[in-house]
């Protein structure tokens, strides 16, 4: 019985339990609902939950445990030369699983038949591989007899397991059903029990945030350790050359990538901070409400545009423009993708981010400070420069840090606008590359998760995560600390 069918059956049982328990509660109340502890619907829900909860729990445990048990039993039967070490064993087991799945397909398609004892027989003439290919299952090489035996055993165990699974799950669900019906008494605190379960579900949903963080850290940490066991950490963190080579002996120095990332981020901040800050000051201090009402949403439109659009803009418009009018006349190179291109476009992307954060912060500066300054005869710009900016400075620094973290983590614009060559260079019109570009580069296309050239992406990801997390925590700390000042 498939899992889907099992779930459907459980749903039917749950509906039945709802109806039965609700009817029983109504019958027990004898027409006076007041004698029941909870509204009749809650007895129904209680019944449904009592069916679903044990059933799902058994199903979940079974789904996790069964493959492990089968794997260990099958790999024990495999000949010793196939399970010499862990990777050989994993490879053989993958073959077994693939063949078992292929046999299922082939039997369904009729190119392989099953005899009375359950042993698969090839329907036509030819090898097992040809029979499977006929059913649309492609295997790299013909099947060895040991693997075939193991695959048959695998299929047998899986089928038995599935049958027992269905039995166990349905037994648990039915037991819950019976218990729920027995428990349905006027005194049963059905509402409290149902609400307890719902609250548990709500709490489980809120822990997903923690699980995500754990998942991020765990997935990157384990592969990063793998990487550092193949490639010395000191060479990674202090290496000055980045030249991955899938034939081996690559140099995976992190410094050129860090330099590219920081250089591009620096240029983007040089674009975004003045423009964003002045836009925020104008909107907060000078603009009439009508102008503000129009311009603020328009600037925020920039934030709603997907980054890949900025990437194409960098590739098609900004890059060639900078090359033809600045880089080539100045003799600084002839590359369309450059640090400047990516930096300027990321800067544009970050303008609305800085301006809306700075706008909030400037608006949070108390009006009394402005009034005091005007009262002393200061002009508006003097008030902004000498009173408002110093008062808002910590918040603005926080906003700039957040924007920097976004610039460092930006992927699409740099993949399309910055180039792929890792270099240590000062010329901003030269193509350079960043950590994010290399993560994409090393993890797309053909990847081999046993080679340092692929695993280096996890080390880069971990470094990126640590850098951005550090910047964010610092920024939030700064913002929070100084927001309290005026509250």
């Amino acid at each position: 019985m498939t899992v889907f069918l099992l779930l459907c059956l459980m749903l039917v049982l749950a509906v039945a339990a709802f109806v039965v328990c609700r009817a029983r509660a109504l019958a027990l109340s004898g027409g006076k609902i007041g004698v029941l502890h909870s509204l009749p619907g809650y007895y129904g829900w209680h019944g449904a939950i009592m069916v679903l909860l044990p059933g799902l729990a058994v199903l979940l445990v079974w789904l996790v445990v069964q493959p492990m048990v089968i794997e260990s039993r099958i790999s024990a039967t495999l000949p010793a030369e196939l399970t010499a070490d862990d990777s050989a064993r994993a490879l053989a087991m993958a073959d077994v699983r693939r063949l078992a799945a292929g046999l299922d397909v082939a039997i369904a398609a009729g190119s392989v038949t099953v005899d009375a004892s359950g042993t698969p027989q090839i329907a036509g003439s030819g090898t097992m591989r040809e029979a499977l290919a006929e059913a649309g299952v492609a295997l790299a090489e013909d099947v060895s007899p040991q693997i075939l035996t193991a695959a048959q055993a695998y299929r047998g165990l899986s089928a038995t397991g599935a049958a027992w699974r269905a039995l166990a799950v349905l037994a648990a669900a039915l037991a819950g059903f019976a218990l729920a019906v027995r428990m349905t008494e006027p005194e049963l605190r059905a509402r409290n029990r149902v609400e307890g379960v719902v609250e548990g579900l709500l709490m489980a949903a809120s822990t997903i945030a923690i699980l995500t963080t754990v998942g991020i850290v765990w997935s990157m940490l384990s592969e990063t350790f793998n990487f550092f066991s193949m490639y010395p950490a000191a060479d990674f963190f202090f290496g000055l050359t980045w030249s991955p080579n899938f034939r081996g002996d690559s140099e995976l120095g992190f410094i050129p990538l860090l330099w590219g990332t920081l250089y591009i981020s620096l240029i983007s901040m040089l674009v975004a901070v003045p423009i964003g800050l002045f836009a925020a000051i104008y909107l907060a201090e000078y603009a009439s409400p009508a102008v503000r009402g129009w311009v603020k949403p328009l600037i925020e439109v920039i934030a709603g545009i997907p980054t890949v659009v900025f990437g194409l803009f960098a590739l098609v418009t900004v890059g060639p423009l900078l090359r033809d009018y600045f880089a080539e006349p100045l003799g600084l190179g002839n590359s369309g993708s450059s640090v400047m291109t990516a930096g300027i476009v990321i800067g544009i992307l970050n303008i609305p981010f800085i301006s809306s954060l700075a706008d909030d912060i400037i608006n949070a500066v108390p009006q009394a400070l402005r009034d005091g300054s005007y009262g002393l005869g200061a002009t508006k710009s003097e008030t902004v420069r000498q009173v408002i900016i110093p008062a808002a400075l910590p918040g603005i620094v926080g906003a700039v840090l957040l924007a920097a973290s976004r610039a460092i983590g930006e992927t699409m614009i740099v993949s399309m606008g910055a180039g792929a060559a890792a270099k240590l260079d000062l010329n901003p019109f030269e193509a350079m590359t960043t950590m994010t570009v290399k993560i994409v580069g090393q993890l797309t296309g053909d990847t081999d998760f046993a080679s340092p050239e692929t695993l280096v992406a996890f080390a880069l990801g971990m470094t990126l995560f640590v850098i951005t997390l550090g910047l964010n925590i610092l920024a939030l700390y700064v913002v929070r600390k100084y927001r309290e000042q005026y509250e």
Binding site: A205, T379, L402
Partner: protein, 448 residues
Amino acid sequence: MTDAAVPTARPHRASLLADDARMKRRKAAETRFRLYGLSAIAVSLATLAIMLWTIFSDGVSAFYQAKLTFPVTLSSDLLDPMGNGNRDEMVKVTTVGYNKLLTRAFEAELAAKGIDTGELSNKDVNALISKDAAGDLRAMVLANPAVLDTTITAKMLAAGRIDGYLKGRVTMQTAERDGQISPEQLQFADRLIDAGILSSQWNWDFFTNPDASDQRPEAAGLGVAILGSLYLMILVAVMCVPVGVAASIYLEEFAPKNRWTDLIEVNISNLAAVPSIVYGILGLAIFINFMGFPQSSTLVGALVISLMVLPTIIIATRASIRAVPPSIRDAALGVGASKMQMVVHHVLPLAAPGILTGTILGLATALGETAPLLLIGMVAFVDNYPSAPVEGFLDPATALPVQVYGWAQRADPAFIERSSGAIIVLLAFLVVMNVAAIILRRKFERRW
């Protein structure tokens, strides 16, 4: 300091009405400062306008396509050698056979209309027909074998370079340096335009065709990408909204103030700022390598994007739950509702419009997200449509923004046009979603 130190001579006393030099300087500084602000706004709006304008001017032409219109007689001698209209036997005729038929019909039409082919060889003449045209014709005939032995007016894709010529991308000068097209062929194309055979037409195929190979930009379409993005949105909405709303309710209404809740709060605010590519690494390591979900599938894409937009949705939902005034809660609790009943019967319905708006905006960000999808393999070349849900969620697919990136990486400039066209489609979806959110907000906005 004594009073004697104060200069006794009265300084020059200006009139209040006329500014003195210092005041003039200060006022000039004031004007300058104001101008800086104005120009900052002008620069940001101008770059926005330039960006949208270049994308639109590059991309609008993707919605038009050069097509050749000429009559084709679908003779059964060539297409159905057994002569019994049996579809299974007709499948054996490959596109080579159809190509022969097409080129023959094209040459016959040229002769009939008396169009001078100049010094072009037949091969050069036929190069004007897209390499994809024969496949299209074959699919059409196989779908409806009844058209055999009739004469139809075929509208066949012209080759990519000819399409570029009609759109002004390919000129006589570029053709001289181009191995795929010659100026003579372009002059011949001019004569075809005059004869009404070659024309630019509205291109529905752009929305329905799957991706095409590097050599055939004229046949590339967004069908798989639009379907993939649709699947992604459905899955993200199904997975993300219930979890996001449940988490927000817990944190706003039930959570005790303790270490654990603080930890959750810190996690949510940090996750909102984690670079999106990191989620891609998470998806690759956990969902594909560890759990063994199929690569490039919309299910994995949706899982990754759900985790990514979850903090955004939680933050928006919590804000709208918080906006429901406490008096409503007090009233519900006062008449004997349990806490759960108070939330489900009163707080949630009142917060629903805000939650919906926040969710739509969250989905809009999800729709434009590219980087994590690259890592889980959705950038691979996919020219088969994913099958219908639920199995279709496990099929390889691509998504709109990823298609934009994929096309932008290709060498032929025709793909830049396609890429910009794809952005127009993507932006159209985003505008619809954002406008929907704004209308909802206006309609249900409530001041307490």
